[in-house]
């Protein structure tokens, strides 16, 4: 869709030209891999005159053809990136938000392109990456320093009093909405309901903080990406998400995103945030992570099977559900 069309490219050139108040030329337009829910395009922009004169490497991010229910819009994600940047989180610098659907058919924003790779199978090759693990912990602590009184994030709505129970209700409704009958996921949801912890605090959570959603260049973290699921939650949800087995790619024995040991991550997080991590609580949130990913996988598969967006990738995502179910049951059973 979108930018492979010459007409849309012309509209984009005109739009950028208007934003930077200069003639511009576009080159190197390429759809980036990943992003079943959003589309990301690399583009090289040459600005002829003015303050921004010169060559720029940018990314254009826009909605894919269809959405999953919990995914936020581009305007919200743009604002989240700005607030995160102001709080010291490594994120791409934003350039401009366009909500006018007449340009590309969907809202989009432009941001600087970061160096490095986010590919999980590349990042989890080889030995432990302790520096990266510490850096990820510190950046997560900075995200969790943002609390629900943040005026710039009012669009995120009211923070739930018990994020765990709120999620259980939400995921049941998501499954019902697509008529998914998944008893193993339901067993996990029943367990999560019974064992829900009382939250010690509710903060901004990225809610997709995992290998594959951050850029790394030469071993250094260059930026946290994909803020579309962000919201108010128990900060331990993000810790459970990045530690969950389902996000370790090639590094199954490295508990933090396939990159390194959880003790290193916990220590770096605790030092910067001043909040301790209870490993038992993280186990709870790792069950939640598998239940949530299984629910999202069902939703993504449904986008294909219900004909919203025919896609082999979405169809195959549905085939991840059995192994997620298997993990959920291994973590929750007494049999």
């Amino acid at each position: 869709m979108g930018l492979s069309n010459v007409d849309q490219q012309s509209k984009l050139i005109a739009y950028i030209s208007n934003v930077v108040r200069s003639p511009v030329s576009l080159s190197g337009l390429k759809k980036l891999s990943g992003g079943a829910i959003q589309e990301n395009w690399a583009l090289d922009v040459y600005v002829e005159t003015g303050d921004l004169a010169g060559h720029h490497e940018w990314v254009l991010r826009q909605d894919a053809a269809s959405q999953v229910e919990a995914s936020g819009g581009r305007a919200e994600e743009y604002q989240l990136l700005k607030v995160a940047k102001a709080s010291g989180v490594e994120v791409p610098m934003t350039i401009n938000l366009c909500e006018d659907k007449a340009i590309l058919g969907q809202p989009f924003f432009l941001m600087h392109r970061l160096k490095g790779t986010a590919a999980g199978h590349v990042l989890t090759k080889g030995g432990e990456k302790l520096k990266l693990v510490r850096s990820l912990a510190q950046n997560l602590a900075r995200i969790h320093s943002i609390d629900p009184i943040e005026q710039e994030l009012l669009f995120l709505g009211e923070a739930p009093s018990n994020p765990a129970l709120h999620s259980v209700t939400q995921y049941r409704s998501y499954l019902d909405a697509i008529n998914a009958k998944q008893p193993a996921i339901e067993f996990g949801l029943a367990w999560l309901q019974e064992n829900a912890p009382e939250p010690k605090r509710v903060t901004l959570c990225h809610r997709d903080y995992r290998t594959g959603n951050f850029m790394v260049n030469g071993g250094d973290l260059t930026g946290i990406l994909d803020w579309e699921f962000s919201g108010w939650s128990d900060p331990m949800e993000d810790v459970g998400w990045i530690c969950a087995k389902c996000w370790r790619f090639r590094g199954k024995d490295k508990e933090v995103g396939g990159l390194g040991p959880r003790q290193v991550f916990y220590k770096a997080y605790e030092q910067l945030s001043g909040h301790s991590i209870n490993p038992e609580e993280i186990k709870y949130w790792e069950v939640m992570a598998h239940v949530r990913w299984a629910t999202i996988a069902c939703q993504q598969a449904a986008r294909h099977y219900l004909g919203e967006e025919l896609s082999l990738e979405l169809a195959l995502t549905g085939y991840l559900v059995p192994e997620l179910e298997y993990e959920i049951l291994k973590m929750t059973g007494k049999s």
């Binding site: 891999s33 009958k181 998944q182 990738e313 559900v321 049951l329």
Partner: protein, 118 residues
């Protein structure tokens, strides 16, 4: 059964030719899609032999009926039971249910990604 064997054989040989003779000529930017196609062929081949992933096995439904004490139970009913406020994952019934669910989950993983169980 004969039909299944023929289909499985065709898919297997098609996948083998695709991986051994075609994949190397696929440009890098389309490799991911090519590997997805090979994966889809492998899953489809296993589904022909082991049953469709989106349909519960008859053994699972029988075990579910026995565990929950209802004849010809539907998956929907088990979900309704698990959503009841009084359902406890610590109860004896839940422990038996868990055993049934994990067997069915294993069956499904053998179709979707048998490597995962190794």
């Amino acid at each position: 059964m004969v039909k299944k064997e023929i289909l499985t054989d065709l898919l297997s040989i098609a996948r083998s030719v695709f991986l051994d003779e075609i994949l190397e000529f696929v440009p890098d930017h389309k490799k991911y899609e090519a590997l997805m196609i090979a994966n889809a062929m492998a899953i489809s081949s296993r589904e022909e032999v082991l049953g469709k992933l989106d349909q519960p096995s008859p053994e699972f439904l029988d075990a579910l009926s026995a565990t929950l004490g209802q004849t010809n139970i539907q998956v929907e009913t088990s979900i309704e039971i698990m959503r009841l406020a009084e359902f406890s994952t610590d109860s004896l019934k839940a422990i038996k249910l868990h055993q049934v669910l994990i067997l069915e989950a294993e069956r499904k993983v053998k179709i979707s990604n048998p490597q995962y169980l190794k």
